[in-house]
């Protein structure tokens, strides 16, 4: 079943055509990879899906319905969560608080109950705490739960951002270069982790990553962008052998 559908999506920044005529379909449950050199428009594509950038042309559909004109918090509430290429954690908060913000949509919305700290309200809050701690646990961040997010190592911050995104219980997770700055063993662990969370949370994953072997090993399907256009689409094997990809991205030698 098609979860996310891009139809002829184009984005213009002044004189620069960052995306042009991009068609994509992401199916439920798959890990879909986006490859492409720097400046190809991958992050812009994520920004369009998550409502941070309005497309100049074309439409994005979520379960068949257009996302046109929806603000980013509305899109997030539909079940689309993301991480950022240049980490955007809440730096004055602890790791636990970061994940609690991710749980925002699931917190009690009754002001009176919050004021009076009713029993059911407190039970709900402590459930949220437990869920946040469980997520930190999954990403091996339980020891740093009460530390400032800003004090973590780079790899830990990357994983905390994924944990925060997962907290909103999304159906689609967008990961923008999650392995950037990680060492080879951390990258291997990350690959396993992404598979595991996909299965455990019944997720669909759309991932941008430069590390080609990791992507070929992880993704069910891939698309390759170059200069804002989709130049290839298919299984890892198909993409690996695609002459346009070898020419444009893999530099002929791969």
């Amino acid at each position: 079943m098609t979860l996310l559908q891009l139809e002829d999506v184009g984005v213009r920044f002044g004189g620069l055509q960052a995306l042009q005529g991009v068609d994509l379909e992401v199916k439920q449950g798959e890990i879909f990879g986006l490859l492409g050199p720097n400046g190809a428009g991958k992050t812009t594509l994520f920004n369009v899906i998550s409502g941070l950038t309005a497309p100049s042309s074309g439409t994005v559909r979520w379960r068949g319905a257009s996302l046109d004109g929806l603000s980013s918090h509305r899109i997030a509430r539909l079940g689309i969560a993301r991480t950022f290429q240049n980490l955007r954690l809440f730096s004055s908060m602890s790791c636990l608080e970061n994940v609690l913000v991710g749980l925002h949509q699931h917190a009690s919305q009754q002001p009176l109950a919050a004021l009076l700290q009713t029993q059911s309200f407190r039970r709900r809050e402590s459930q949220l705490q437990q869920q946040a701690l469980a997520l930190l646990d999954l990403f091996q961040l339980e020891d740093t739960a009460h530390q400032d997010a800003a004090s973590l190592s780079y790899g830990d911050r990357r994983r905390l951002e994924i944990a925060r995104a997962l907290a909103s219980r999304p159906q689609l997770l967008l990961l923008d270069e999650p392995a950037a700055g990680m060492n080879p063993s951390e990258k291997d662990e990350l690959r396993e982790l992404i598979r595991r969370i996909r299965d455990q949370f019944k997720l669909t994953v759309l991932i941008i990553e430069h590390h080609v072997p990791l992507m070929l090993g992880l993704c069910d399907r891939l698309a390759v962008l170059n200069f804002g256009q989709r130049i290839a689409l298919g299984s890892p094997d198909q993409v690996r052998r695609d002459p346009a990809v070898i020419e444009a991205y893999l530099g002929g030698g791969a």
Binding site: L52, H73, A76, Q105, T144
Partner: protein
């Protein structure tokens, strides 16, 4: 201590909280004196022009003061709801400038209206308490109530959303936080606190005029929060109390007091960039009294 000074300090703390609320979600609004002035004008007009509110006793009834507060809250709340939708689209210093303009517009309008008494203002505002101590007790109760509400707010969903917006508005929106509504909530609450405070101040001061909500007041109230800190409600309360008391306590040194006051505002942020009162302060304080081991002793992660 002089009860009159104490009352001024408590009013300062309330105004500090009003500036603090938008600032806690990263919005530098200097509109507080404007809403304060509206509250004061509402109280001055109602208590001097509406005979029914005066009651039969020798002092002005407190229920009438509460009614004025409710009306001031309604008026400032509705106004903030409408204005906030527009001005909160501005960011950073542009929001600050727009809100200063707002305060100035209000001041000039009040100055030129017939029924607000023009430049002279309104005199002979009736007294619900016969001593400054009565005012102080009433204002202390009000401050306690608002502090309690702020504490609840901070520890729950809207407070977390506000802190997230302050840290990174775009990331907050990506977590499903309605950033526009959250900022609007903070702005409206700020206006309510300022409006209610204006009502109390008008009775206490006995007269009310346009000068009370001017640009100087914007800066003074901002100083309360800059000095005290904008991470928890205790910061602006502390800043408001101390910085209101300081010029008065320094009165014996004459004009020098203004220099000392200025130096505190100037030097405070240098030594306490996050303000004097921060959550870290509480954590270290709690650690000390509980005697739990510090991070180093808890064992460093291998």
């Amino acid at each position: 201590m002089d009860a009159g000074l104490l009352e001024q300090m408590l009013l300062g703390a309330l105004l500090g909280l009003s500036v603090y609320l938008p600032l806690r979600c990263g919005q530098l609004s200097l509109a507080t004196p404007g809403f304060f002035a509206i509250g004061g004008t509402v109280a001055a007009l109602l208590s001097t022009r509406v005979p029914a509110l005066a009651g039969s006793g020798s002092t002005y009834p407190i229920t009438s003061v509460l009614l004025e507060m409710a009306l001031a809250a309604l008026l400032t709340g509705v106004l903030a709801l409408g204005l906030g939708r527009v001005v909160l689209r501005l960011r950073g210093i542009y929001l600050a400038i727009a809100t200063i303009a707002l305060v100035e517009i209000l001041r000039v309008v009040t100055l030129n209206l017939e029924f607000t008494g023009g430049a002279l203002g309104i005199f002979g505002i009736p007294q619900p308490f016969d001593s400054a101590a009565g005012y102080a007790a009433f204002t202390l109760a009000l401050l306690a109530l608002i502090c309690w509400l702020c504490d609840r707010l901070e520890k729950n969903r809207p407070g977390r959303a506000m802190a997230a917006i302050r840290d990174d508005e775009l990331a907050a929106a990506s977590q499903g936080i309605n950033t526009a509504d959250t900022k609007l909530l903070a702005f409206v609450l700020s206006a309510l606190v300022a409006g209610i405070t204006g009502v109390v101040a008008a009775h206490f001061l006995n007269s009310w005029n346009a000068k009370l909500g001017n640009f100087d007041a914007s800066i003074t109230t901002l100083a309360f929060v800059v000095f005290g800190g904008s991470r928890t409600w205790l910061g602006p309360v502390f800043g408001g109390l101390l910085l209101t008391a300081l010029p008065e306590l320094l009165r014996p040194v004459g004009d020098l007091r203004l220099i000392v006051f200025g130096a505190v505002i100037l030097v405070g942020p240098l030594f306490f960039p996050k303000g004097v009162i921060t959550p870290e302060l509480f954590k270290s304080f709690k650690r000390r009294i509980r005697g739990t081991p510090t991070a180093a002793a808890q064992g460093v992660k291998p």
